[in-house]
């Protein structure tokens, strides 16, 4: 008899525990389909899946190659099947996705689960997250280009002396675009020659950049164009890319090409990152994760030797002016056709806020700092880098961000950028002169604007300029 009571008691206890456990769940066992570009940046969805299950969310992850994110998402949005709930994409497409009504405004959900937008760096918050005054996305990855260089080479006494003898000035990471060419030329050596006291077993190059179409290649041209005061359009949407600033910037890349690896025109993110961290080039402009990867012994041959500073600029009225492009970046959004928007938002909020410090401070991901709390936490990078170096890294990122230059997130941006990259490519391959290439690109931009409706594009572009001014990015 006692035994029977005991069994009943245990069963009741288990039932009670299950009920309490179920009440702990925020959501009634929903499945959220997440979309992210494939590779290291999709890892957090897998890492935190067990934690999401505890609150009643089962994550189903779908990935696509980096270069195909736009068409995959757009295909889904056009079909409107509701296949994705939470999506990761590049803010370049925010104007189009939000403008076409593909995304759910998040203001209401943000009141319930605070994403701490006050903690997001102003530039990222303004450029990445809002459209038409509404919150549409939460930041996931903060991107800004910086100059990365080999500390061991730049600090090598033999190389320093050699450079001084040749150029009558100290060897340092290039501060201006003119210096960049000299330094790139100086470090370019043939196999068998010496570099920092060691005989080279393969050719070594001074510089490299991203030239592969569809990989934000235009940003490497934009860096000098913007520092020379260049703008995408004037206020009437007349293209300004073929201005003297644009032509000079393009000519610079053509001039630096002899000091780049011969296959540089096929370089995307991976190739450029590998060129630096596997010890084949002396410096490059890159995204912030380059520093993390370069200091990870599992991936890099130059651990402890990754220097970072602001992008080069120009001297204007005795002052250095530089602008760091902010290409790519990643944001989390909720699809307008999601059947579980609140749960989808919850996933986005956890990744954008709760787990973000851990995700941006590990070399396992390519995610980069975007919150003030990230910039104030060099200790978080202790897993692979000393605090002093992490401080140097975060401080350089902040400096570049202060003088950041935004992506063109207009409707039709994919088309504008694709055309621009095609003509940049024609100049790189000397098929066209820089002037002719940019004139042709500008003519194509005019046609695109006409086709998409000039009046509407002008209105959106003006709003965009205003938001850039509010973010403190444009004067």
């Amino acid at each position: 008899m006692k035994k029977r009571y005991l069994i009943i008691l245990i069963v009741l206890g288990l039932l009670l525990l299950t009920t309490i456990e179920a009440q702990k769940k925020l959501f009634p066992d929903v499945t959220i389909t997440a979309f992210c570009d494939a590779g290291h940046n999709a890892l957090p969805f897998e890492w935190y899946a067990p934690e999401f299950e505890k609150v009643g969310i089962k994550i189903k992850l779908i990935t696509a190659p980096f270069a195909n994110v736009y068409e995959k998402l757009k295909t889904e949005f056009v079909a409107g099947t509701g296949a994705y709930d939470v999506i990761v994409f590049f803010p370049l497409y925010l104007g189009e996705f939000a403008g076409m009504g593909y995304l759910k405004p998040l203001d209401e959900y943000a009141k319930k689960y605070n994403p701490r937008m006050d903690d997001v760096a102003k530039a990222f918050a303004k450029l990445y997250c809002y459209y038409g005054g509404k919150l549409y996305t939460l930041p996931y990855d903060g991107d800004v280009l910086s100059l990365y260089y080999r500390k061991d080479l730049f600090n090598n006494p033999e190389e320093k002396a050699k450079f001084k003898a040749l150029y009558k000035r100290e060897l340092r990471p290039p501060v201006t675009w003119d210096e960049l060419i000299d330094v790139a030329k100086f470090f370019t050596r043939k196999k068998g020659e010496k570099l920092a006291g060691k005989v080279l077993t393969e050719d070594f190059y001074g510089y490299a950049f991203i030239a592969q179409r569809g990989s934000f290649a235009y940003a490497w041209w934009l860096a000098e164009f913007a520092s020379r005061g260049g703008r995408y359009f004037d206020e009437n949407m007349k293209p300004m890319i073929n201005s003297p600033a644009g032509v000079t910037a393009l000519q610079r890349i053509v001039d630096v090409m002899p000091y780049c690896p011969p296959d540089v025109l096929s370089y995307g993110y991976e190739e450029l990152k590998d060129a630096l961290i596997l010890g084949r080039i002396a410096m490059c402009l890159q995204w912030p994760c380059n520093w993390k990867k370069g200091n990870d012994p599992a991936q890099s041959k130059i651990v402890g030797n990754v220097g970072i500073t602001h992008v080069p600029g120009i001297i204007k009225d005795g002052k250095l002016v530089f602008r760091a492009p902010m290409p790519c970046g990643r944001v989390l959004a909720v699809s307008a056709s999601s059947r579980n928007p609140e749960a989808a938002y919850y996933v986005a909020k956890v990744l954008s806020y709760d787990k973000s410090l851990a995700d941006v401070s590990t070399p396992k991901t390519g995610l980069d700092p975007f919150r003030i709390s990230h910039f104030n936490n060099p200790k978080a990078f202790a897993e692979f880098a000393p605090e002093s170096e992490a401080k140097e890294y975060l401080s350089a990122l902040r400096k570049n961000l202060t003088y950041g230059y935004p992506d063109l997130n207009l409707p039709g941006s994919a088309e504008y950028i694709d055309v621009l990259e095609i003509y940049l490519g024609k100049a790189y391959t000397k098929e066209m002169t820089p002037k002719a290439a940019l004139d042709a690109a500008a003519a194509e931009w005019e046609k695109i604007t006409e086709r998409l409706g000039r009046a509407n594009q002008i209105k959106i572009y003006k709003d965009l300029l205003q938001s850039w001014k509010e973010a403190g990015i444009l004067e």
Binding site: A67, Y70, E71, K74, T75, V78, E96, G99, M100, G101, E202, D203, A211, Q212, R213, G214, P261, P262, D263, V264, L265, S266, Y267, R280, P411, G412, A414, E415, D418, I422, Y423, G425, K426, Y428, T429, E431, R451, L452, G453, N456
Partner: protein, 298 residues
């Protein structure tokens, strides 16, 4: 009796007509319907990157195609790949077919190995060749350096080499197909024809030129027809290897159509590009089929 059998025949014919209805309906739903929609949408300015409704523009898209430099560049690249591919693959395929037409040990194994490239998914082939062509880690440049033939090349980054690199991949994948077709042709030539030629005192070269080649002609027509259609549609290796670049150096017609449709979302213009390709392919296929059928009837 006669009337009854006539009724049966008429009934059978009616039944046969009803039986053809489902496939006809499927054909209409899957081919004629979309084709009609394609033609219809080619007369609209319809872009899905802005919230504007489609606008009827008559033949504006068709006129734009004629003025579109990128379209003609893609057309040129596609035709170049086609000419180079068909000539090279036919020559290589014929040589291999003649070799495989002889009896030797492990012949079946050789044919199986030869057929492997046809069986691999084109996307996988694209990724494999991307590694093979890699400037630093690629085995191709490694072998070139090992043999001291030079320092290697930027196979897919150099605009002068990129299209040739795609042609090499296409030839690697499809020469075996040409070989197998021609081998089947060679094996179908009656032995008596060769014996009669030998009796007449013809040399090996004369037999090859006057007997083998003319009898292989239908197979060659088949090869040229298939390869023309397939190269015209070439997409996967271009998409994976170069994405159409550097610049537009390797953009082909199908890739350019894809870019307009799925990157730029110009639905109307993409439909026009597709209609153009449909017309071109129909003309080519009709010429080939007529020629083939006329020779076949002879």
């Amino acid at each position: 009796m006669k009337e009854e059998s006539l009724n049966v025949i008429v009934g059978k014919k009616r039944f046969a007509r009803w039986m053809t209805l489902p496939p006809v309906l499927i054909l209409v739903a899957l081919v004629v319907g979309p084709l009609g929609f394609l033609l219809y949408s080619s007369f609209f300015d319809w872009t899905l990157t802005i919230p504007a409704p489609p606008k009827f523009v008559w033949f504006k898209n068709y006129v734009e195609v004629f003025k579109d430099i990128r379209f003609w560049n893609a057309f040129k690249n596609t035709v170049l790949l086609m000419i180079l591919g068909i000539i090279t693959q036919s020559i290589l395929g014929l040589i291999l077919a003649l070799l495989l037409n002889r009896e030797f040990k492990l012949k079946k194994v050789a044919i199986t190995i030869l057929a492997l490239p046809i069986m691999i998914t084109p996307v996988v082939i694209g990724f494999n060749w991307r590694i093979i062509y890699h400037e630093h880690f690629g085995p191709l440049n490694y072998i070139i350096r090992l043999l001291r033939l030079g320092s290697g090349a930027s196979w897919i980054a150099d605009p002068k080499l990129a299209l040739i690199s795609i042609f090499i991949v296409d030839t690697w994948q499809w020469t075996p197909f040409v070989t197998l077709i021609l081998l089947a042709g060679l094996q179908s030539i009656p032995r008596q024809v060769y014996e009669a030629s030998n009796v007449d005192g013809a040399s090996s070269w004369q037999i090859f030129r006057r007997v083998t080649l003319p009898l292989l002609r239908p197979m060659f027509v088949l090869v040229v027809l298939f390869r023309t259609i397939w190269i015209f549609k070439i997409f996967d290796p271009v998409f994976i290897l170069t994405g159409g670049g550097p610049g537009t150096a390797t953009e082909t017609l199908s890739l350019y159509t894809y870019i307009n449709g799925f990157k730029l979302w110009r639905i109307g213009y993409t439909s026009t590009l597709a209609v153009f390709q449909l017309i071109i392919m129909n003309i080519v296929a009709t010429i080939f089929v007529r020629k083939f059928m006329r020779r076949g009837s002879k």
